[in-house]
Symmetry: C2
Subunit: 684 residues, 2 copies
């Protein structure tokens, strides 16, 4: 059996003029420097600016490996040094040998280190990071600058885009070994890839596992067995000598269906793959899977062409939220944080979480929690708000990253749609990119060619959509409300939230309204005295262009000008909840024409004024509580229809809802001008 | 009014060691050298090899312009030197000034030469061509070699691919000024672009003309009028000072519909655009248009997803042929040749002509003839059988060429579909390109992104399909018979033509069978004595890999081995007709599941053994005559259905076909074993 030795201990980070400090792996330079007391907490006050130098510096991590037990790496033929993630531009050295260089945060790397770990005193391992700025700016100079919503070089390097700052996040460009490292020692063969295609036909679940093997020279000539076990079912296939790719399929009779929350249970099945040499197990792989079908119905209809998720044959209005990285230093996000935040989403009635393309492919903990909670996941590929070059060296990285992450995430029942990018097709058409680009590549080939091809190849069980917003083809404007997904940002940017009423997009993948973080959060993070909308810390923790102006203009039609900070804080938070309510109630009442609302945004990555429902310290804004009403299975809302007011009865409970509505028209003093009791029945 | 002076006379071509020879413009070096007696006819015997040096050489054309009448270019503010087409890598000099450099055969070029034409003795104009090989090989070295069905560098330069040879054509890489040249003198403003969107709604035709203007400095501040006249209708729009883009729309009541041949008439309307400065006409543009709607129905159905042309609401089984350049030297193809060849197609019952992507965007004469004859045109973008880099310098050329040609061809009623490429999506998936490419670009971004975007922008009235074959998305194999278009080549390459029966693709965009050219054609072109299938000239004029082997193996199941050349020539020609008949009768009987057959190929570009119905000298092969039967409006054919023989009645006549079929089963001696008279009615 394969031996796995974590490489988590003894790491040091070299700090100029300070020798070395202890380093956490997984971790990053900012958190190591913070732990060593060498930088202030960048989330507090104006400290972000003070630590900007960290992102421009190069950093080296070092530890010593082994010596491992016994000669020849404990009797194994092969030893691999495996990094699940390196952020980002790294050169890896073992002893005096360069193992390789990396330039993609979103990939894992494996190096054959057989025979290199026998040094009696151990073997030094160093991972030297070049500043992401240095490399991204080099590539930008090589390929030419291209349009970008932000003046930062993130499109030129495969690193979390919002590391470089966003309109809700700080610019904290870190580096580090952000995922686990380990030594894997093995003989004969190992499981190099396991890609399970999970489908269900009637009551029969089916897993078709595509297996890739890697063999040692001595293992090349051996017949090996791959065993797949799902629930109580077992299937085996033989990998003949020289065969490194095979498929093994297994059926599960009477499979229990996995449902999104509110529609049924979330039964998960253990799916185990074993690689056997005779009776000896060489390697194993285990994930949890769920049986459910998913389709994306985008077929033409009288209203254009929609965007409706169909799970197990049931058409679903998606009660969604957008998810951004929960921390600008994602190595710091633990399983408990993921679980807590996603439980909070579920508690608010959410049934779909969109992982936004300026962040990361999240860790297993995220998708595990979604599997368990019945949260549908919409996963963006990691492109946001900029023109991305299609030339080398980016092109090959994009394909490798896509293949790796599609295969990694495909076991998860919760994952229901891949999306090509965030706002780039829109940007090309509407944000004057086309003129500036003058024919240069900008990512179109990724979104319309390479990525759908990779998804169709690696995981044909899931739908792909080229972008958000996107109308399905260039025949319509990318943000056409009659086709596909739409982002509704004019309302926040330039209009009153009553204007949500003016349009019924087929699926609202982004819309939202800002509010400050909870009072306690701002008080913890800022030493401003007094706190004011325009006190230095508040202004620094408001990253949106003219954000405070928009807050004020958004308040004006609805409330008097606040007298003081407390009033401003309270009313802007209330106004956020009212704005989002205006959108959700209107759009949800137009089901099935509108098939989803995805509120921008569930969470924050630091203490900031933003569109979030839960702030950077994990505290709820009033919007969070309002979401519980808006996203409840049953919603009554008064909406305009044909120039009159109408009661819309929204029922996603799965059961018929019959009742009597008591309608009253009252004057501003509360006197009843008219009333009626209207019986209603809403089908299941 | 704009003055136009053709630059057609006085051209010379410099020939190493021979001084200069007279040059034709439009023309090319091969035809000039041929006219001067300096090279033998490359279409005869083995001469192709003898003139190969021409394609590797550089060539310079020269003439003298003017002096033009009067000072200041005859009183006009501006003089432009306009080239409709330069083949391909050229530097243009006027006097001692370099006007520019070109690298795309498929574009036109315009140079401002104001003030440069006043020399008393005239001004020398030279166009110096670098060998297309030199440039294509330079770009290949720069970007890296990529997979290609042929060992020639055509994907690295925007020049007719089959210049470099094909499996039916010689390698004759020419250069030259292949389209007209002229001087345009104008003042105030000119029509820089006219793009008419022609649609029809009920009986009302509509033309929305998108106009681009170019103005002189003195014209910048003038309000101008654009007048659009279609049939008896006139509309005007004003271009305010500073406005260079405007739209003028015109409706034609009681518009007569343009129909494909066999479905109705082909009424064409003059569409005239005038640019006026007060009463003075500055510039004019005129084309013929036709009113018809076209859709491509590719919606999912019980059989997969089809590919059915719908013209004026009528679903059409396309009786098609593939078109290749009628001459390897396309400057030599005149209006009469186009008209004759397309009339021959129409006479054979053809109603759709596919312009194949290894050739050219054809001249106006081609599309004019199709407009008049009611031949539907499927136009490929010019990519065939190879991986095409998406990097500079190709990327910008592809977009410019697409925009120019979509706008140029959009007035033509006959043009009904744009297609992204020939066989490249298939090649990527099936021909081991993916492995060889190792992540390099190969054109996918053109076919799935850039080209559909350009078509949607420039001409939203026409459908686009990403390639042939193509199944509509990466969810299915590109050549999946159940989805979209398919190419059926296994039958010719490796099977007997009875195997056409094994599959019913939704649309067969290529299939065919070889035969030698007419006897008289081979006799004219070859001095082989005796002629034999393997005599030197016959072998040289057979470009397909193992072509003669496939001819022999295709004959074997049907005829005895021919005793001599005459027998071989006759039987291989007959066999070609029988093979194509086997395909067409089978597929046509499966309408509406199968919505078209496009025979490879109508024509030839030189005397050669090929899949053509009409040979390189314009002579008919037996296949041509058989096409008349296969593509007749009414066809009776005996086909297998559910294990028994059935009579299929195919009726595309537009009128009900009622009759009685007299069916007889006879033994090999002609004795009647059984007979029946079966009345049938086939709806209109």
């Amino acid at each position: 059996m394969k031996d796995i030795t974590p490489v988590a201990d003894g790491w040091e980070l070299r700090v100029p003029d300070h020798g070395s400090v202890p380093a956490q792996v997984p971790g990053c330079v900012h958190t190591d420097l913070l732990a060593a007391g060498l930088i202030p907490d960048p989330y507090l006050d104006l400290n972000e600016a003070e630590v900007a130098w960290v992102g421009r510096a190069d950093w080296t991590y070092r530890t010593v490996l082994g010596p491992l037990d016994g000669p020849g790496e404990a009797g194994h033929e092969r030893a691999d040094l495996v990094f699940d993630g390196l952020d980002t531009v790294a050169e890896i050295r073992l002893g005096d040998r360069v193992l390789g260089a990396t330039r993609n945060m979103h990939r894992g790397y494996r190096f054959d280190v057989t025979g290199l770990l026998d040094g009696a005193g151990g073997t030094p391992l160093t991972v030297a990071f070049t500043s992401a700025y240095t490399e991204a700016e080099r590539v930008r100079a090589l390929l030419g600058d291209r349009p970008n919503a932000y003046p930062e070089p993130f499109p030129y390097l495969r690193k979390m885009a919002c590391s470089f700052g966003w309109d809700w996040g700080p610019t904290l460009v870190t580096a580090g070994i952000w995922k686990p490292v380990r030594i894997e020692r093995w003989s004969t063969a190992r499981l190099a890839g396991v890609a399970p295609l999970v489908t269900v036909d009637g009551a029969t679940g089916r897993v078709e596992a595509r297996i890739d093997l890697e063999r040692t020279p001595s293992g090349a000539a051996r017949p090996l067995t791959v065993r797949l076990r799902v629930g109580g079912s077992v299937a085996e296939a033989t990998a003949a000598p020289g065969t490194d790719h095979l498929t093994v399929s297994c059926e599960v009779p009477d499979a229990r269906l996995w449902w999104p929350r509110g529609y049924g249970e979330q039964p998960l099945y253990a799916c185990e793959v074993s690689l056997l040499d005779g009776d000896e197990q060489l390697d194993g792989w285990e994930r949890r899977i769920g049986f459910r079908s998913v389709e994306l119905d985008t077929s033409p209809d009288e209203g254009g062409s929609g965007f409706t998720l169909v799970v197990n044959g049931v058409r679903i209005f998606a009660r969604g939220v957008n998810w951004i990285p929960e921390d600008v230093f994602p190595s710091r996000i633990g399983a408990d944080t993921y679980r807590l935040r996603l439980e909070q989403a579920a508690d608010a009635g959410v049934d779909l979480v969109r992982v936004w393309g300026g962040g990361i492919y999240e860790s297993e903990h995220f998708y595990d929690a979604c599997d368990e909670l019945g949260l549908l996941v919409w996963q963006d590929f990691l492109f946001a708000c900029a023109a991305y070059p299609e030339e080398k060296p980016l092109r090959g990285e994009v394909e490798a990253e896509a293949r790796e992450n599609v295969a990694r995430l495909m076991p998860h029942a919760s994952l229901v749609v891949w999306n090509g990018n965030n706002e780039n097709l829109w940007g090309f058409r509407d944000w004057e990119w086309e003129e500036q680009l003058a024919g240069e590549s900008w990512g179109e080939g990724y979104y319309l060619g390479l990525l759908p091809r990779v998804v169709a190849e690696v995981d044909p069980t899931r739908p792909y959509w080229a972008g958000s917003p996107w109308s399905g083809s260039w025949d319509h404007h990318p943000n056409d409300p009659e086709h596909g997904t739409a982002h509704s940002w004019e309302v926040w940017n330039r209009e009153d939230y009553a204007a949500y009423q003016d349009s019924v997009p087929r699926f609202v993948a982004e819309f939202g309204w800002q509010a400050p973080a909870a009072y306690a959060t701002m008080r913890r993070a800022l030493s401003d005295d007094p706190l004011a909308p325009d006190s230095p810390g508040m202004l620094h923790h408001q990253k949106a262009g003219d954000g405070n102006g928009k807050l004020a203009r958004g308040l004006a039609p609805h409330f008097p000008v606040p007298a003081d900070f407390d009033g401003w804080h309270y009313l802007t938070q209330v106004n956020q909840a009212r704005a989002v309510a205006a959108g959700v109630e209107h759009w949800r009442s137009h089901w099935p024409r509108c098939a989803g609302t995805v509120v921008w945004q569930l969470n924050d990555c630091w203490p900031v004024t933003s569109w979030s429902a839960i702030d950077g310290d994990g505290r709820f804004k009033p919007l969070y509580h309002e979401l519980k009403r808006l996203y409840a299975d049953r919603l009554l809302t008064v909406q305009e229809r044909d120039g009159a007011l109408a009661l819309a009865v929204v029922n996603q409970s799965g059961q018929e809802w019959a009742g009597t509505a008591w309608l009253r028209r009252v004057d501003v003093d509360g006197a009843v001008l008219a009333e009626a009791r209207v019986p209603f029945t809403a089908a299941a």
